[in-house]
């Protein structure tokens, strides 16, 4: 039944190439988080603005991002927009797709964090003579960050793993893309993908541990 001979050497020889891909993977994930956080802040402000139009845009974004497959979101960014003459490269489409997804989840996370801080905190700040902006920036925001930080870390890990969906739109420079090309040339599917999985695991784990150390250092109370 099992007369398969492992060829680990072949996979290990490709390791430097795969690590180059891992760098691209991390780059896409980090950029998608930066864009995602910026968009999520905007979406949160939209939802608090009281404007029906802005609120509607934000709610639609969050609903679609959270309730449709990430694969479709990336597909839409590449092929979907392509139908309208907007041609994004695989790299850009992957970035846009993941950033869209991140923003949806993070906006929900931020809203929850905001709700977790009682109104009386801002009120205490106002009664000391702070403007509403000062009370938000100095009292509410720092507490919000602590509540939102660990869920945001989860989203970062999720973003790293989502980058592997880039192969479906022709992304061939990230870890998944390179692995897929090596696989297509050698048919050593098990070895290459097992090695890629180990690299994904190590990146995700490193991010989680770094975030935990950062949180421990930052949020002392």
């Amino acid at each position: 039944m099992f007369n398969y001979t492992f060829h680990w050497n072949q996979a290990l020889r490709a390791l430097p190439q795969m690590l180059d891909g891992a760098v691209v993977t991390l780059q896409v994930a980090v950029l998608s988080m930066v864009i995602g956080v910026a968009c999520a802040i905007a979406l949160t402000v939209f939802r608090l603005s009281g404007s029906r139009i802005l609120g509607g845009i934000a709610t639609t974004w969050v609903e679609v991002a959270r309730n449709t497959p990430a694969l479709f979101q990336i597909y839409m960014a590449h092929f979907g927009l392509g139908n309208f003459g907007i041609h994004l490269s695989p790299y850009t489409a992957l970035l846009v797709g993941i950033a869209f997804n991140n923003a949806g989840y993070l906006a929900e996370n931020f809203r929850g964090a905001l709700k977790a801080i009682p109104d009386t905190q801002a009120r205490a700040g106002r009664s000391l003579g702070m403007t509403s902006l000062q009370a938000f920036r100095l009292i509410v925001l720092p507490q919000m960050l602590r509540v939102a930080f660990l869920p945001a870390t989860n989203q970062m890990v999720w973003a790293i793993l989502m980058t592997s969906l880039g192969v479906t739109v022709g992304m061939n420079t990230d870890l998944a893309g390179i692995t897929q090309e090596l696989n297509a040339r050698s048919f050593r599917t098990f070895e290459f993908f097992a090695l890629a999985a180990v690299i994904y695991y190590l990146i995700a784990k490193a991010v989680t541990l770094a975030a935990r150390a950062f949180a421990w250092r930052m949020f002392r109370y």
Binding site: R126, S127, M130
Partner: protein, 240 residues
Amino acid sequence: MIEIENVRKSFSSLEVLKGINLTVDKGEVVTIIGGSGSGKSTLLTCINGLEPIDSGRIRIDGTDVHAKGTDLNKLRRKVGIVFQQWNAFPHLTVLENVMLAPRKVLGLAKDKAEEIAVKQLTHVGLAEKLKVYPNRMSGGQQQRMAIARALAMSPEYMLFDEVTSALDPMLVGEVLDTLKMLAEEGMTMICVTHEMAFARDVSDRVAFFHQGVMAEIGTPDQIFAMPQNAETQKFLASVR
């Protein structure tokens, strides 16, 4: 001087203040007693403009609190308030809690703000707790920190909204002692309280609120020894 003239205030259909008149002079200590829902706490939050009023007027040293052009942020530097729930800022140490507003609102340098904060915290007996986070302290200590935080702005008036109501009975004393000390130092204070012995000891005048109306006001002797109003009599009989 705080002048409250015919102030009315409703929350939807419920009228909680039905035409309150009260003048508090510099250096005076006025305590407000009365049952729950009598409007006592609402009046305090109207005085520093945290709550708008429906009609009437509140003036602090001649400034109309609820007039359109009034800079409430500036006014609130002059009028400190401490709440039943002390609202410590959990992400800041005790020292940072007290330094924050002097630095950011008054724009003081860090060392100057720290000097003030240390002085005020020492004053309320928390000199040992400067580097501690509030959630490591008892409710009584957190409440005293909140008092120091308000005092660090060097207010001319202090409003205390049932500051001992959320505390364990054994911690009430330390907070009341702090208030007594302030009263003796000549701070102008309006205290909403359920502590009758405290009201009798520190007040120049005691006001009894009943269902949004100031039913009676007088010296502690008048109110506690010979209350004139039937509701005051009923209330005092029930809390004794």
